[in-house]
């Protein structure tokens, strides 16, 4: 069976582009050496390194601003941010040996689409098209059927002024899930976003509920969102008069292949009548609501502590 997976759209970029200095003249080796010093002394950053970091990140901010303006011209509303110093250092520490210039999400933007996966696909296509003429082509990372610790979204890494910008495209429900987990990460440490056995996972928050219990519930909600959205997309395609069967075939010939909506039960709906498919969606909706309500109850107990 075909799997959704990260897709490398095109070439990765020539070494000359990768080694070019930043637009304001800071060299890539200066940047990498700065990264090494930040990792060595994360709590004692010198004024000189703060100044250099401000210069380095100013380049990313400029590239990000221009990218956002380009998206805005297409009617796409994105919120951008350049990574905070603490998350930048955390990433360099977590991914040992990684060079600062190799981090693709120093500049990032987030788009939350108003609906579900069809809209997410459409916006991802527009983002890819908007940056196809850059020296380095966009790269699409589809984390829907193959999530990262429960996190689902489509990311498009585009380049502008020779710098990478990671654009997160989330559906409404993927975004809600991510916001909840990010908020828990604020309180319990960001490690929970990367590891099921995160530090402190055994800590009891109330009664017999541990932090791990809450994260397990989050994973269940993520699965339920995935199942719900996969079926919602198929029904939406029908409602749009789109033959979803032929659409999924034609997608393989598009600029980036995204695979079937649900790798586990890809075409169950096609064997059903529409009424039956709507009923199946309704059942999934109810299951998702029950899980979300339960999660809300759990985290309410946390907030009450």
């Amino acid at each position: 069976m075909r799997q959704e997976a990260s897709i490398r759209l095109s070439f990765v970029g020539s070494p000359s582009v990768r080694s070019m200095p930043l637009p304001d003249g800071v060299s890539r080796s200066q940047m990498d050496n700065l990264g090494t010093r930040l990792v060595a002394h994360p709590n004692d950053i010198s004024d000189r390194d703060y100044d250099l970091l401000e210069r380095v990140l100013g380049n990313y901010q400029h590239a990000l601003d221009l990218a956002q303006v380009r998206l805005q011209g297409l009617g796409i509303r994105a919120t951008g941010r350049v990574k905070s110093t603490s998350t930048l250092v955390e990433k360099l520490v977590r991914q040992e040996g990684m060079k600062m210039k190799g981090i693709r999400d120093i500049a990032g933007a987030r788009i939350v689409v108003d609906k579900g996966r069809l809209e997410q696909d459409r916006v991802a296509d527009e983002v890819v098209a908007a940056f196809l003429n850059e020296p380095r082509a966009p790269r699409v990372i589809d984390r829907r059927a193959t999530p990262s610790a429960g996190y689902r979204a489509v990311h498009v890494v585009v380049h502008h002024l020779g710098l990478p910008i990671e654009i997160q495209i989330r559906t409404l429900l993927q975004d809600s899930w991510a916001q909840i987990v990010e908020r828990l990460g604020d309180i319990w440490g960001r490690g929970l976003r990367y590891d099921e056995d995160f530090a402190g996972s055994e800590i009891v928050i109330a009664g017999d509920v541990t932090r791990a219990t809450v994260m397990h519930q989050c994973r269940e909600v993520s699965e339920a969102i995935h199942s719900f959205e996969a079926r919602e997309a198929i029904l939406q395609a029908w409602a749009n008069g789109d033959d979803a069967t032929s659409r999924s075939d034609s997608l393989e010939q598009g600029p980036w292949y995204r695979g079937p909506w649900d790798a586990r039960e890809p075409y169950a709906e096609f064997l059903m009548g529409k009424q039956e498919a709507h009923e199946a969606l309704s059942t999934l909706r109810q299951a998702l609501l029950t899980l979300l309500d339960s999660l809300a109850g759990l985290v309410d107990r946390l907030e009450a502590i």
Partner: protein
């Protein structure tokens, strides 16, 4: 694109500062000034966010403004918003 300096206390979930900056360069300058001021304080996130409006910012980065329970309930309302569209 408007630029906002956000200073956020992660554990308590409190926005300590949300300021609109007049330019990206001034925003970056304000960020690093804040980083130096908070360099010995734990659990502080300092970031510049660029958005078309503060309303957009509150939508895409809701975790700065809502607790986990509120975020989960927003998720509940979004399920029906998506389901209603089919």
């Amino acid at each position: 694109v408007h630029h906002y300096l956000m200073v956020f206390e992660r554990v308590e979930g409190r926005v300590l500062q949300l300021t609109t900056c007049e330019s990206p360069a001034l925003a970056m300058r304000a960020r690093f000034k804040a980083e130096r001021a908070y360099r010995t304080t734990k659990n502080i996130e300092i970031v510049v966010l660029g958005a078309q409006s503060e309303a957009d910012l509150r939508e895409t980065h809701a975790r700065y403004f809502e607790n986990a329970g509120q975020l989960a309930r927003t998720g509940v309302s979004r399920v029906d918003r998506v389901a209603a569209a089919v």
